[in-house]
Amino acid sequence: MKFKAIVIGVSSGGITALKTLLPALPATFGIPVIIVQHLAFNSGDYWIEHLNEACEINIKEADEKEKIEKGMVYIAPPNYHLLIETDQTFSLSIDEKVNHARPSIDVLFESAAETFNQHLIGIVLTGLNNDGALGLKKIKEYGGTTIVQDPSTAESDIMPLSAIALSPVDYILPLNKISDLLIQLEHQL
């Protein structure tokens, strides 16, 4: 299979967006999904529990040094940057915010691009800032596939618009079409 990981960045409007996107993925979905979501609250436990109830696929907070596995969705812990190591494990860091955010989408995307190269899918969804735009550009430069939520369908269109403005993206789609596409891409060789 071509793709080894999917990274998703989402900010304001993310609760609704993820509750639309993730339940569409089957329990056996063959590509690990890694998400940075900017959250206004400080503990993600309740949110992850809630998502798990709504989804077939398994969702958990990313642990440091944890090995990335398929059939899993990982969410960055609030207040930590999430990075991916070349041995496909996670690292956490609490250094300065990037784009006023911690976790920052750019930080995840950058390290994912360098680890997975053309085997990576990067997705930018709804949000009110421009985090993720640089990271998505980098994913493209490393040969990955990029997707942005159609700004006209996003709760907040600034993040999708910034991503589209910074680099050419492969797909611009509404949420339900994004999940269809991911299921199609799962078996691409």
């Binding site: 440091e64 040094k65 690292s91 860091s93 250094d95 950058e110 430069e141 490393y142 040969g143």
Partner: protein, 277 residues
């Protein structure tokens, strides 16, 4: 695919830079988390207007001021008073009662940064009546951070956050009893400043320096790779007496280390472990 060759070259250059830092200055970052190190070095490269990692290395070999900048970049000093207030609450409610049974107590803050965690501990001990029979060692390999810790200053703008943390950590007094503030800065009380023994200690290259009852090493080990975590956990194990307590950061655990079976999970959620007898 050009990009991928560049990244391989860069990884090689980073290894060479880390070797040089170790050979020339004795600082060993070779087993730190690679993604983290790469990001920090690149930040420095951009900030200092350098073209490549090898240019960073060249400058580091010639220019001492630049090297100390680089060392600051590689040491993440972000900290606060009563950070993770629930942890301090658990410390007060669960660990202090154990310490109260000892006639003399030694505590080690490993990776204390600018001191906020050690000062929080000193306040806690004061309120629990253990101040006079406790020695607090606070160590870091970042001398700059230690110097600031010793001075005991913090910015006035943080008072609000720290007070809130103190209160949610079940503080018994008013946080303002512990510092004096002017319009810009606050300084910790002399008695608290005098209480703490600050020392330069590198967890990677230095060894055990005392037998202690309680170790706090929070938000330091996330920057180390598995092998290095394992090595440092051995050092902590050797420094703790039987029944000694080890406290890790909110996202850290003993999962991948050889000595994990030698501890019980004392307060699982707050990452507090107890060395078995």
């Amino acid at each position: 695919m050009n990009k991928i060759t560049t990244i391989k070259t860069e990884e090689r250059e980073i290894r060479s830079l880390l070797d040089a830092l170790y050979q020339n200055y004795g600082y060993d970052f070779r087993q730190y988390s690679e993604a983290h190190i790469k990001r920090r070095i690149r930040n420095r490269m951009t900030l200092s207007g350098l073209e490549s990692i090898s240019a960073v290395q060249q400058k580091a070999e010639q220019d001492k001021t630049f090297t100390s900048l680089l060392l600051q970049d590689l040491s993440i000093t972000v900290t606060e008073m009563f950070r993770d207030s629930n942890f301090f609450k658990a410390l007060r409610e669960k660990v202090i009662p154990i310490l109260k049974t000892y006639s003399f107590i030694k505590i080690w803050h490993a990776g204390c940064s600018t001191g906020e965690e050690a000062y929080s501990m000193a306040i806690l001990l004061k309120e629990e009546g253990l101040f006079d029979r406790t020695t607090i060692y606070a160590t870091d390999f970042n001398q700059h951070a230690l110097d600031r810790a010793k001075e005991g200053f913090f910015s006035n703008s943080l008072i609000k956050d720290y007070t809130r943390n103190y209160q949610s950590a079940a503080g018994k007094e008013s946080f303002s009893n512990y510092y004096t503030a002017d319009h810009k800065m606050a300084i910790m009380n002399q008695a608290l400043r005098d209480k703490i023994v600050w020392a330069n200690h590198n967890l990677v290259t230095d060894s055990v320096f005392a037998e202690v009852n309680l170790i706090l090493c929070r938000n330091v080990l996330i920057y180390f790779n598995k092998e290095l975590q394992n090595k440092v956990h051995r050092l902590f194990f050797d420094s703790l007496g039987n029944g000694g307590i080890l406290c890790l950061g909110a996202k850290e655990s003993l999962r991948f280390c050889d000595v994990s079976g030698e501890y019980t999970e004392f307060e699982k959620k707050q990452k507090i472990y107890k060395k078995k007898y």
